[in-house]
Symmetry: C2
Subunit: 484 residues, 2 copies
Amino acid sequence: MARKAAIIGGGVIGGGWAARFLLNGWDVAVFDPDPQAERKIQEVLANARAALPALSDLPMMAEGVLTMADTLTDAVEGAEYIQESVSERLELKHRVFAQIQQSCPDTLIGSSTSGFKPSELQQNAANPAMIFVAHPFNPVYLLPLAEVVPSAVSDLDAIERAKDILREIGMFPLHVRKEIDAHVADRFLEAVWREALWLVKDGVATTEEIDEAIRMGFGLRWGQMGLFETYRVAGGEAGMKHFMAQFGPCLEWPWTKLTDVPEFTEELVDLIAGQSDAQSGQYSIRELERIRDSNLVGFLRALKDRDWGAGRVLREHDERRRVAVADTPPAGAPLVMAHMQVLPGWIDYNGHMTESRYLYASSETTDAFLRYIGADMDYVASGYSYYTAESHIMHRGEAKLGDRLTGTLQVLSADEKRLHVFVSIQKDGQEVASIEQMLLHVDMKAGRATAAPQAILDRLLPIANAHADLPRPKAVGRATGQRK
Amino acid sequence: MARKAAIIGGGVIGGGWAARFLLNGWDVAVFDPDPQAERKIQEVLANARAALPALSDLPMMAEGVLTMADTLTDAVEGAEYIQESVSERLELKHRVFAQIQQSCPDTLIGSSTSGFKPSELQQNAANPAMIFVAHPFNPVYLLPLAEVVPSAVSDLDAIERAKDILREIGMFPLHVRKEIDAHVADRFLEAVWREALWLVKDGVATTEEIDEAIRMGFGLRWGQMGLFETYRVAGGEAGMKHFMAQFGPCLEWPWTKLTDVPEFTEELVDLIAGQSDAQSGQYSIRELERIRDSNLVGFLRALKDRDWGAGRVLREHDERRRVAVADTPPAGAPLVMAHMQVLPGWIDYNGHMTESRYLYASSETTDAFLRYIGADMDYVASGYSYYTAESHIMHRGEAKLGDRLTGTLQVLSADEKRLHVFVSIQKDGQEVASIEQMLLHVDMKAGRATAAPQAILDRLLPIANAHADLPRPKAVGRATGQRK
């Protein structure tokens, strides 16, 4: 049976939590008295369904079941984890916690609060030990960070269980060691927000210019190394102490004069809202959300390719799921070897998957098969590999952005040196392309074909035998442009 | 003759400027009395050579010539642009400007200063109008941002020329409308730095935890949308005003208590340097630089795929160069249609060009031919295109990172609907792969093959006729795995 999470408050943040749990296979019950809540959550969920699968190299789990609960008590019943994302009003949060703990005093309750400390949230609670901060970042379904902040009375075993659950839904729980107003990340956001308001107010820069000053420069750095590691690199071989000696004294410079809080007048609000319209008004919020998500997917995939930062979180999430989901040997004949999704970089100017990406999808399929018969990365490191000598591709349909593709492989023939395969790339069970390939087992150092070792042949030849009885696809043996 | 830039001060920043100019085809003269300067610049240049070509979809220009000048006067002689990157000491900068303007009073002088205002830089100068701030961000060869700050006495035509030059070397000049201490971006960096020092000092978070709080969350957002556009999206359909109404009042909250400057004691420096060692000490600075650059290349390529933010700057840079480099009609029979360079993203785990990229190289060649016969982007926009029906690839050699490839195309046959071509991908005149393709002229709306218009046939058929006399490559008509 699927595990259950309860989400109290179904706005953009609550909806993001719901999407994360659902797409990771949890059932979710949402309570929010707003009659628009279900529509809003469905919109967040649609965004999440378009973006989150593009981060994974495994097929998605079966999505959990979403329920809109009539009462808060219905929502939390049987839940293993409860996340509160109601408005930032302390007395409202206290009422929600009191009601939850009437029926579930021992269930984990994370709060999405950006401002309140856990000790404030816990005031007057029936079981304060189970209430803690789990502060996420929008879009919750893509960004891994959740600041987990306990107080002195928190149950630390419960906190560890909460962190495990967050990891299970692909997040990075950052355990904040001391409670403090605004936790950690929002202190920086607040500092920058304050400076930005001054710059706009004083006419130094518009909202657009400020955004460019961030995203053309240090914003790119911070997506992968943060503040201190970036400066460590800037300090060069002389190290962090040298950097601090060089730049520390700047703290005393007149830049500090703008630490005041600008007055939050109607004029300032109008100025900023007007500039923001001029900057981004050509896009609807939905369009901006999709652009943002697509960009974040691109960053996260780049980091995943490099096994770094947030990309390492994604890899670990895949690994955890790979153990859970897979190690089921590929099934069927032909073998279903790969599941893929068409990513933005795969699209050409026609809006279709670009032709070289069909061969890429085929390589993914063949590589998975090679790993399966033991010709994996370690094997390649030992100096041997299968090289493709020749390929023939038939284009039979079109794949578009976001399409889910399956790669199947049939062994046409195999001997010690040669491996002749037929790969079919399919969308909804229909072939969009087929690729016939001849591979050779190669001694990479000698640069010539050589017999594969017995261990590989012992895995390969039985499959070849089993596939010998399969019908031979019509495209096999075909030359380009040959009349039917 | 190549244009010349002079770089005064050859540290990490000066070296980054030198690399940007050199890799964009400018000659560069550096003046720096430090005997280590040449070694340092060569190290930055090695990093830049490994990273910058990966951002371009065109072959790199011939690299300019780097000279280490014996005197400042030698360095600036004949330079069209001078960039000053000496230490942040105003009297030193004044001396440098005075010496430059003795021989070149009318040459553009950008300063890399992060702290000084242009009016301060211009004090007592022979020609203050030519001195301005051009503040870049490390690594200068990858991050597009350059804050361009004039003062009231600046020559605005000169500023526009400087911005054009910065665009020519792939940068994004952000014209800052009012001079202010620390310009724009560094105000934010300073604000965050200050908050971060407090958090470490107070034991709320370590340097590593702070970096995670940034790069797992808002750091990823800021690489692509900056501050205001991110908040606009967060505000949802209700818009920016709603967001401000909701979050503006937080300005009055106690988060403001930490706007003081922490005292910069030896203990604080040791605490931070120690934490930074624990966090990143397993990597050398060179390793961290390469990791950072590889991550930034990944982000920038993702944005380029999506034509957004810094990625749009890269695209525009390519377009500008495409006009400059190309539009020479193809020569020879077969036609030489494309020149390419093997980029880092084209390499597989064997260190070789991955097989799907041979088909990509072929597509680049065929696309160039299609544009040449009139089936260009505008033509596709009108609803017609050539689609690949079928391809046969022969692998005959190996290409590696940085190899320059040429794509030639021979028309095997052509009629109203069908276009049968043979593409050869060559390295140093040797074929590394051949691709035989059948393309069909398609009515994209109707989704079926249709006759090409006369205008295209008028260009295509004479080439087909001319190519009819060429020897037919042996690989033509070959099926995969066919015995010779």
